[in-house]
Symmetry: C2
């Protein structure tokens, strides 16, 4: 696919065609003063006719403003990310920044690729990154870089931390308080290959342990991060443990899929099996019964990240960036 671009029309060509100088054309285009209205019109008409459009590169080169941030997410189709994106877009717009979006699908190869690309193309990066090589690469360079979920990583890398530990604890203790003991977990399979630390699965193991509830590994089912993935995992779970009374899901998407499938298989929710999600997606309100979940303020998450990027861009060093934590809130609806 040879995208043979048509040659660029330059400001000089417009100038020549109109019989004026570069500068006069520039004045016309940028709506500046010191130009005769009649001349402006002539120039503008010629520019229009010739298909002239100023080169953003030449412009950007001389005017050192206009900032572009790269937003790296796993998957636009996962409703979690649009909410974060909304926060990022809004905060960026307030600052007059542009936002370029990249999808990684949580694949290691793509994450690395995207990080590489970022270095060339943007002034700052704001990213969800799963694989620690990608994170290392991203934070090693000279590009201001903010992690949208820095997890348990060293404080030196700027970013927002989502307090999964607090959230998971609140959620699981809620389930335990309600009398549940046979609590399964549906984990995101993407974390199997990533050497992340302090994952929701580990927290699950930890909290359960603290409450003296032993869990066998097959109480943890990996699921693709989607509704269908949750459904499939639930089915596997049920065939191994029909007596499960509650499911703690990696996130709402998986929880919703699981709950849907459970109901399709004849279970009553929450009487036979309760479901607890994580993320607080608005689609959790659509299912029956509405999903109880640990709500994360995703919009705020995006905003904070942009603010941190702004500080970095302003020259603040990475370890001066204030610590930011998002606290998941238990939202009790009806599924648990």
């Amino acid at each position: 696919m040879p995208t043979n671009r048509k040659p660029r029309v330059t400001i000089d060509q417009v100038a020549q065609a109109t019989g004026v100088s570069r500068q006069t054309v520039s004045r016309a285009i940028n709506n500046k003063s010191e130009i005769d209205p009649e001349t402006r019109r002539r120039v503008l008409d010629a520019a229009q006719a010739m298909g002239y459009r100023p080169s953003r590169f030449a412009r950007g080169l001389v005017r050192q403003d206009l900032i572009t941030v790269g937003l790296v997410i796993a998957d636009v189709l996962n409703p979690f990310f649009p909410e974060v994106t909304a926060g990022v877009l809004e905060a960026a717009e307030r600052r007059g920044w542009q936002v370029v979006v990249y999808n990684t699908g949580s694949e290691r190869r793509k994450e690395l690729e995207v990080v590489d690309m970022l270095f060339d193309q943007v002034d700052a990066g704001v990213a969800f990154l799963l694989h620690h090589e990608a994170i290392a690469k991203a934070t090693a360079g000279n590009l201001p870089f903010v992690l949208l979920d820095k997890g348990g990583r060293a404080p030196a890398v700027p970013g927002v931390r989502i307090d999964f530990e607090g959230g998971a604890r609140r959620g699981l203790e809620y389930l335990i308080d309600r009398g549940h003991r046979r609590i399964a977990m549906l984990d995101d399979e993407a974390y199997l290959s990533a050497e992340a630390q302090n994952t929701r699965r580990e927290l699950y193991l930890k909290v359960m342990g603290e409450h003296g509830i032993p869990v066998d590994v097959d109480w943890i089912q990996p699921a693709h991060n989607s509704i269908d993935g949750g459904a499939a995992a639930m089915e596997r779970l049920l065939s191994a443990h029909r007596d499960v009374t509650a499911v703690f899901a990696y996130n709402d998407l998986i929880a919703i899929g699981a709950q849907l499938r459970a109901r399709a298989l004849g279970l009553r929710v929450p009487e036979d099996c309760a479901f607890l999600g994580f993320d607080g997606l608005s689609i959790g309100e659509l299912v029956e019964p509405p999903l109880t979940t640990l709500h994360i303020d995703k919009r705020r998450l995006g905003e904070i990240a942009v603010e941190q990027a702004a500080l970095l861009l302003g020259g603040m060093s990475e370890d001066e960036i204030p610590e930011a934590v998002i606290e998941p809130q238990l939202v009790v609806r009806a599924s648990a």
Copy 2:
């Protein structure tokens, strides 16, 4: 908010610090040949230490490749758009293009603003635009511009047409065939202020008329384009026409809200009232009963738009762009 950027480190500064020439630094940075490995390492180390990062503007100025397209959507939070975005991102990535995202909220002021911005910042635009002034402005300039829903507009403006007429007809006739006569419509209120033509509302009026079913204007309720908006509109509708037997919604979001509220008010779906959506969002499968809808291949829509933008960028004139139509498909689930 004075984002006092730290002064840029240039290639010359790195060159000076390392005691080599610009070109050698360039060779090191871009991983080219004709450079001693030892020198490369020294340069790279210095660059890293000095916080050097090549200016994308200077680069872009000399290498005329690297293309950026602007994607203009109404609202990232509306699940319709992420799907389109996914298609756009994918198609853009295949071409090595970047995608900058802009939100308009369907407001006239913001649409105009965004279009203005686009002209400065991108090489091509791909957009959902509601207000015809914004569309006029966008297509008048020299920027390759593709409409993601060109509606009934002149063929000269490139873009994808979604065959709402065919879709609406298929949907409404399905309802009529099933015996419905008192069919209400829940319209998107944003279209009240926009002078769009060939809207879903007009099609509703037309098809109903063709079947000899007279409709009073208060069978059409405007709704905010959201689930809550649909719910509120449904409540208004019911207070005027408790005897409605079917609802044709502007889109799935509104349909879902309406259906949810109807059920909350004690109506059985579809026995007492049937619901028909438009868009084919995947969240329509989550509600009970699953939503019958006119499915639009949103991903494909995004892809086609990018392909058209590529043709435009390649120098093809606007009227040579092949006509592209997306045909909505009736997906019968259980709500109607």
